[in-house]
Amino acid sequence: MRSAILIAALLIVASTGAFAADKTRFWNLTSVTIDKLYLAPAGTTNWGPDQCENDKDGSVDPDERLQLKNIVAGTYDVKLTDEHGRTCYAKGVKVKTTGAYSFSLNDKDLTDCSQ
């Protein structure tokens, strides 16, 4: 009986995890197309892979969503490069794995931009 409960619990966790992975999406609410997007745990420079590689055309247009891979809920710093070659940062971004999207960025969220 105990093992049956455990298996059921594991199945629930597994199915919830799969759902969360599907919903782990970035929503580009800036006015520019983003060509590269990296996440690092907040306060570090341990940048993960370029998430734009998950997109079918390799970039995220304004108002478009991007599927994120291998990201868990937490607080991150985000580094991005836009279509004009400008690199910007967004610090201390809360990323969730529930709901329709994980996080969004507006123009006003971008800091320390440089060409």
Partner: protein, 324 residues
């Protein structure tokens, strides 16, 4: 208070009261894609009077032909939600296929043509029984949808393919495609059906396509002093009932371009709220109301005077608007 101010204040009050009176009894319904609501705005009072919770990511919004119902594309919920406008309650949902973004009704209001952004399809729903009548493959990321005034042709724009597809509404087959500038997002027919105008967000242009030849006869470009070219992103198009003027929403340029359709020249830019995607006329054609995503408001434009007369706060990230 200076005597000049004392004279001016009643004049301004009179102007606002007069405009409010002219828009009397009209109501705007605004889809807010971030907080998943429809804002109901009384255009007489010029204020939001109700917020209706709907499914996730409402964007495209339409009135039924009898103006009794509101249809809403809930992109993240993968359905069309139907709101009864007498009760302001959700009365049914229609299976739309994945990620519905924009849609169009046929002339009689019996069929709904829906752009499915995620699977490159146009879904046709029979509104009598709510069933899916057909799915039509088109280019990648379809969005703009417009039915010709004679009810014979549907134009669907595909953002990634950068094409306007012409679909015969008898056979429901694509009978031709026209390459336009990058990321076409909207299509609108002139009232006489002679032209279809297709906006391109990244290209920042509007292509004027002759329906008889299916050729682009003019590309309308936009230039605003002091505004970076890449932020001029053409999206929503509203054409006056006399077919003489088009109002083009320019997204993060925060402007509406006023285009003279007799010569396809831009005659004015109107400053509105931030990231304006779509707009709608009041039924009398006297006012145009724009949905401004990043400033969370709507702007009300006096069409004859070509002036913005008021902004009204609504929900989060307003995307589309209809007025009855």
């Amino acid at each position: 208070m200076s005597p000049r101010r004392l004279i001016l204040l009643p004049l301004v009050a009179l102007a606002v009261a007069g405009l409010a009176g002219a828009a009397q009894a009209y109501t705007a319904y605004v889809s807010n894609e971030k907080d998943n609501t429809i804002s109901v705005v009384d255009l007489d009072k010029m204020q939001m009077v109700k917020s209706i919770p709907v499914g996730e990511r409402p964007r495209g919004i339409l009135l039924s032909k009898d103006k009794k119902y509101l249809y809403i594309c809930n992109g993240d919920a993968d359905h069309i939600e139907v709101i009864d406008l007498d009760t302001l309650q959700s009365v049914r949902t229609l299976d739309s296929g994945p990620d519905p973004e924009l849609f169009a009704l046929d002339r009689d209001g019996n069929k709904l043509y829906i752009a499915n952004e995620d699977n490159a399809m146009v879904t046709v729903i029979d509104l009598k029984d709510g069933t899916t009548a057909m799915q039509i493959p088109v280019g990648v990321e379809p969005e703009g949808m417009a039915v010709s005034p004679d009810d014979k042709i549907l134009v669907a724009t595909s953002e990634t393919t950068s094409m306007a597809h012409f679909i015969d509404l008898k056979t429901l087959q694509v009978i031709g495609s026209v390459l336009v500038d990058s990321r076409p997002r909207f299509a609108a027919f002139t009232p006489d059906g002679k032209y279809v105008l297709v906006s391109s967000e990244i290209g920042g242009t509007v292509a004027v396509i002759d329906m008889a030849t299916r050729k682009i006869v003019k590309k309308i470009g936009f230039a605003i002093p002091g505004v970076d070219k890449p932020t001029i992103q053409a999206v929503g198009i509203n054409i006056t009932a006399d077919g003489k003027t088009a109002f083009v929403a320019l997204g993060p340029a925060n402007r509406i371009a006023v285009v003279d359709l007799t010569n396809f020249e831009v005659k004015k830019y109107l400053l509105v709220g931030q990231r304006v995607w779509h707009a709608d006329f009041t039924p009398d054609g006297k006012y145009l109301v724009t949905a401004n995503g990043n400033s969370n408001d709507i702007s009300i434009i006096d069409v004859d005077a070509l002036k913005v007369i008021k902004s009204v706060p609504v929900g989060q990230l307003p995307w589309g608007v209809v007025i009855r």
